[in-house]
């Protein structure tokens, strides 16, 4: 009988039920979309902040203290270098997955034909690596220096056959020496010389505008620095620092065992630095504060902003559903009055109405959930050009929210109607 009554109610009042289901679907799609976007926005903004370039710099231990202080301009004399063959190890540390990009630098002093001294820096442009994990990574300055404006020509393609005789010249130097794309420049280093074809001219808006960039091998040959690297710049996705991270950054030894584990297994910039130092011999890895610090702050603000907007829209959705359910229950006063008049218990009336509304809520909620996933993907693709990853956590949160909100919408209205006298209601008040 119960089932039959409910089925009948759905059939006869399908218009009203459709309205309720529609509103619940809207609310739940709103909640789903906002929750998924909110939970994923951190990762997405983190990716965008890659535009600011490397947040970790690795230098040899000796130079980090002494080189720039005492042997000014005489980097070739100190003899402190990192080893090129260790570069691959950076992708083997605990947080290897968070290392998005990195590139080595090696600078050799050289002179042009007219006697002008220039610094020739060897680096990766789009270095292709096949990692032991089976992944492939394209790393280099082409992505780490996204703010470089290529004025003429193009980036060096390392996969090209002649890449070792190509060079990219800074805009300031190119203007001074009247170099243009396609020219061949002859550079003489301390240990070798080379004819370089200019592949591109870039404007970096900084000190790099006075440099010539070539591949690592070319720069090493010029300076006789086989297998040596000056510095490495690493771009890692990190978690904003907290107290623990700050304490650890000063001295990892001061932590207790469990603290150490927490720190080591969290992607703080300091723990990633520490892990890089573990794999690269005699190196000092330090956070580039300008990037690392600011990143954390912007990330935090964006997340907080999204959380608050999400809360607002959830409140909106909740009140919207609540309102409609209350309104639709209240208009059934006559029906309830009639049921009471023919002897229905309060409990069975409540049960009947609740079941009806909850059935509608489930249908609406499920439909809304899928619609919400669609909305989230629209946001992801149109703003970040990538899909928003769906967290399973969204499902229970939305389900509980819809259930609670619907109940809150029903119960006060039902109770109010139950208190009415059937005769009055039936009489039309």
């Amino acid at each position: 009988m119960f089932v039959r009554m409910i089925a009948k109610a759905f059939l006869r009042q399908w218009k009203k039920m459709l309205l309720i289901a529609f509103t619940i679907a809207l609310g739940s799609s709103l909640a789903t979309a906002m929750l998924s976007v909110m939970m994923d926005v951190g990762d997405k903004i983190n990716q965008e902040l890659k535009a600011y370039g490397a947040n970790i710099k690795v230098v040899p231990k000796d130079t980090s203290v002494l080189n720039e202080l005492y042997d000014v301009g005489g980097e070739n004399i100190t003899g402190a270098y990192l080893k090129e063959d260790e570069l691959g190890k950076i992708k083997t540390i605990f947080w290897a997955f968070n290392i998005v990009d990195y590139t080595p630098f090696i600078t050799a002093e050289a002179s042009l034909d007219n006697g002008d001294k220039v610094d020739v820096t060897g680096t990766w442009f789009n270095h292709h690596m096949d990692l032991p994990t089976g992944e492939a990574l394209d790393a280099g300055v082409a992505s780490l220096r996204s703010w470089w404006e290529i004025k003429d020509g193009d980036w060096i393609d390392e996969q090209a056959e002649d890449s070792s005789s190509l060079a990219m010249v800074g805009a300031a130097l190119a203007e001074k020496e009247k170099i243009s794309v396609g020219d061949t420049i002859h550079v003489t280093g301390s240990q070798g010389e080379n004819d370089l074809k200019v592949a591109g001219i870039f404007d970096a808006g900084g000190e790099e505008d006075d440099l010539i960039y070539v591949t690592v091998d070319t720069a090493q040959a010029l300076g006789g620095l086989d297998g040596k690297i000056d510095s490495i710049e690493v771009l890692a996705l990190t978690t904003p620092d907290n107290e623990l991270a700050e304490k650890a950054a000063k001295d990892p030894g001061s932590l207790s065992v469990s603290q150490y584990e927490t720190w080591y297994c969290t992607a703080y910039v300091s723990s990633i630095c520490y892990q890089i130092e573990e794999v690269i011999t005699d190196s000092v890895a330090s956070a580039v504060r300008q990037v690392a610090d600011s990143e954390g702050q912007i990330l935090e603000k964006t997340q907080l902003l999204m959380i608050l907007i999400t809360i607002l829209s959830m409140i909106g959705a909740a009140l919207g559903i609540c309102n409609l359910v209350t309104a639709s229950v209240m208009e059934r006063s006559q029906e309830i009055g009639l049921m009471k008049a023919i002897g229905a218990h309060n409990r069975s009336i409540t049960g009947l109405i609740l079941t009806e509304i909850m059935c509608t809520a489930v249908i609406g909620g499920v439909l809304g959930f899928f619609a919400g996933m669609g909305f989230a993907q629209i946001v992801g693709h149109s703003v970040f050009n990538s899909a928003i990853s769906m967290r399973p956590m969204v499902i229970p949160v939305v389900a509980v929210l819809v259930a609670i909100v619907t109940l809150i919408g029903c119960i006060p209205a039902i109770r109010m109607l139950l208190n009415l006298r059937p005769t009055e209601v039936l009489h039309g008040r």
Partner: protein, 405 residues
Amino acid sequence: MKKRKMYFRMITASLLRRRSRMVIALLAISIGAMILSGLLTIYYDVPRQMRAQFRNYGANMIFTATGDSIIPEDVDKAAALIPSDKLVGMAPYRYDTVRINDRPVMAAATDMKGAEKTSPFWKVDGDWPAQSGEIMVGKNVAETYNLKPGKRVTCTFAPEKEEEKGPAAEAGENQGGTDQAAEATTEEEVVLDNYIDFTVTGILDTGGKEENYVYMNLQDMEELTGKETVYDICELSVSANAKELETIADQITESVDGINARLVKRVTQSETTVLTKLQALVLLVTVIVLALTMICVATTMTAVVAERRKEIGLRKALGASNKSIIAEFMGEGLVLGAVGGLLGSILGFVFAQVVSMNVFNSSITLMPWLVPLTVIASVLVTGLACLIPIRSAVDVDPALVLKGE
């Protein structure tokens, strides 16, 4: 005249008598209006607020000298060209080589208050130097000389001719290509070394080249070198978008002779990229949330009106024309819409303010035009939402409705 009076009376009486239903409708409308005005306020204010956050990346404009060095008057002149509400901070720098324990160290002199603003990411272990006689040392320098906050250190400066081209040139290179410091050091011919006893107030940790320098106040540098203050470089942090920045830079380079203003590409370019994305995100979210809430409001209004079919039937039976029924219902809807919209725009502003205080620690700018916009939008939505159910109700035969279908 009497007719209009009656009309108002009917509307107000209907609103007052059916209190519980009207509260529901009003609540729905004000929530919609609140979300509309709150989200729009946030959307318009986010770029401004976020831009302030992006200033944490440090200076986005630098002045370099066109000649040997920048004179302070030129900096003042140039700074006057930047709107004062956009200028976050300005720090002129002067570099020279000093000696600590007879070993050369690059010293930078600057306005500490300005440097604190242009380089908010500098982490100082201890305090910033506040008065003359205080010095802040880079982390690497501190390690080399074993310095800690509170310790004393003597800096000497030898004004005689000596080969100091190297470090100065390096400093010039680091900071944008000036090497006047080296030429300046060779000018004076005093045999005695100048020296000042400094107290170390803080250790500077930046992860960059700044860790190899010591930082002192401009007066101390003047005293130490015995030369009047001129700047090698000036860092500015300006809160403006890339286009505005370019205009400002061009204007300064053109109108102030001694200064060449340049943008720090890395900071400006990346800021534009990230900020555009952020704004697009908030816009899209706003649009989706708004569309959904408006539909929500509409469905609630539909439900509220639909239950009044009986009333409509009775009126028709009493001889009311369809037109007058629609006019009355619409009048009710409009009153509700206007009140709800007004209420909602106030609530929305409060919400935006709460968000702004929590996220950015600064209050939001009030946009008065949002109030009429919100009211109009909610009146429209309510009107549309009422119209659909009323029209279908009006077409019904009164006898059928009164009988109970």
